[in-house]
Symmetry: C2
Subunit: 345 residues, 2 copies
């Protein structure tokens, strides 16, 4: 099935399971275990399905490159440690963060439901995906989840003159009674790294205030940011403080690397930050009063009442429904590239 | 002891214990219990000592006014509920939030050290102070603490056209090896409400982007914001998402009111938001690897290395040391007003 596009790009529509199977084949062919291939393929295909293009199949060449470089262990088996009634640790073994979360997930949920709150501290891990897929599933189970992950030096702390922090996103998910969960995922940089890469690829300029060039001067050229320049934090000193908090929670509190601590120069092609990730999961049934999901629904109702058209997460949930109906549209060239990486032609 | 000032204001220096005793007398004289008077006086005098003037003695007339209005119960006895191995609730009984935290604090610390993480959900409470004094003491005990509190409708959600959220601050504290803790306290509004009040009092204009007037139009006049206008979130949609998260955590997850749910029109003079507060405390000794305090010290070292002159919290810690040395300077008129409220003249 194909559809004409206004600039003559031919689109092909794949189902989620077709895209997942294709990506799984790519991961397997580039040295991951079957478990890791399945987790990463589901994650990446889900992002593409939800219209989160900067973390969809756009990321596949980066995954392939980093696996080929020997920088990350695609066959790592995460080691889960049960530390306390509310504390789980995982050593991801220099593998990806998502399989580490998958390995610890059941224990984490069990602890959150029993203790009321639980924390998962993942270290020695590589996170190269969006962060919202890590928190959203908890909200579908009635839990509130918060996660932070640090990345790689590319953000200048507010008041400093050289980069130190990563883009260091914060993601949050909460259930609500009459609809999809409330979910957001925000980089503490003024713009996500993937969006700078996409702007550079498309030859677009960025809005002011996003980054600086190699001399530390403000620039709107995405290439100047990527080639020796750096990003700025969002919201001045406040976003910078939150980015610092992410370093402390995702690295210092997990035993992982800070964004400035790893050195991949002996692994040309390495793309994935080797850091840590923290998740906090809370069971809102322990709270006093009316059910949390009814209360969050009331907040949503009032937000619409003051003129808010779209909630955080709405666009993705809308695109998800559309993709489930019509399939996930990929242009022919992108699909051909993916098939080549999967060894299909 | 008095010192001349460049605009001929005469300053008087008080010790922390002198100022605390004076404020305690004011609270007692306006209907609080001795426990509540002690907790609030220590909190407010500590803020003044640390140079956090918008939450120091500047707040005393507001406290007096709200107590006189009958809106808050100055003699409330908090009821602590031990809900699960990581979950403590407190019904503040329509009293202040700080005595509720004080009542639950030992249990919260005990649970955090045992479970690795614990949450304190305070509801039916009034928070009229800075948020950093609630988290900083945990860091001096080697713990990591995060707190959020919602306030009263005065912030327009990004993309909406009328106010709904409160200024909804987020505070964070973490220990470090060779110095005072890393502490920040940031309103998710573009500016704190107290700072707008101080600008209005001083006849100053605000920077652009802080708020709107009663017609929803951008304004730099603090009075236009206070009289029918509203604040904006910091950092556009990202700050707005964080403010929404604060509503969910501080109200929906505690059983407290959202910022838009209370109505004080039958209590002229009421100033304090009747909402909820959430604290999360984590024991970093459960983390893998090198000690957390050594790791956070390394982050601070690197932040200074990229040219950062001042860490979040540094200014307060510097002012604290100065106040301990020289006393807390108050102008004569302010001191006379406080003494009058204490019934001393």
């Amino acid at each position: 099935m194909s559809a004409p596009h206004d600039c003559a790009v031919v689109l092909q529509n794949l189902s989620l399971s077709e895209l997942t199977a294709l990506l799984e084949k790519i991961f397997l062919r580039h040295g991951t275990s079957t478990d890791v291939a399945r987790v990463l393929a589901q994650n990446c295909a889900g992002a593409e399905r939800d219209g989160a293009h900067s973390h969809g199949v756009f990321r596949i060449p980066g995954y392939v490159s980093t696996l080929q470089s020997g920088w990350v262990n695609g066959k790592a088996v995460p080691v889960v440690e049960d530390v306390a009634s509310g504390f789980v640790r995982v050593d991801a073994g220099n593998g990806f963060a998502q399989p580490a979360l998958a390995a610890a997930r059941d224990l984490l949920v069990q602890k959150a439901r029993s203790a009321g709150i639980a924390v998962l501290a993942i270290r020695n891990s590589h996170h190269f995906a969006a962060l919202w897929p890590d928190v959203e599933p908890f909200a579908y189970e009635g839990l509130v989840a918060l996660s932070v992950v640090n990345s790689m030096t590319c953000v200048v702390p507010h008041g400093a003159d050289r980069p130190l922090f990563g883009t260091n996103p914060i993601a949050f998910a909460a259930p609500r009674a009459d609809g999809d969960p409330i979910v957001f995922d925000l980089a503490t940089s003024a713009i996500a790294h993937g969006d700078v890469q996409i702007a550079a690829r498309n030859g677009e300029r960025l809005p002011p205030g996003m980054g600086v060039d190699g001399l530390g001067q403000p620039t709107q050229d995405p290439k100047a940011i990527l080639e020796g320049g750096a990003l700025l934090p969002f919201g001045g000193h406040k976003g910078s403080a939150l980015s610092m908090m992410v370093e402390l929670l995702a690295a210092a509190l997990t035993g992982g690397n800070f964004s400035f601590e790893f050195d991949w120069k002996n692994h040309p092609g390495a793309k994935t930050p080797w850091t840590g990730q923290l998740l906090i999961v809370i069971d809102p049934s322990k709270a006093a009063g009316q059910s949390f999901a009814e209360r969050s629904q009331e907040l949503v109702r009032q937000m619409h009442g003051v003129g808010l058209k779209r909630l955080p997460g709405d666009r993705r949930h809308h695109q998800r429904a559309k993709s489930q109906d019509q399939g996930i549209a990929l242009d022919e060239q992108t699909l051909a590239n993916l098939r080549a990486l999967a060894g299909e032609n």
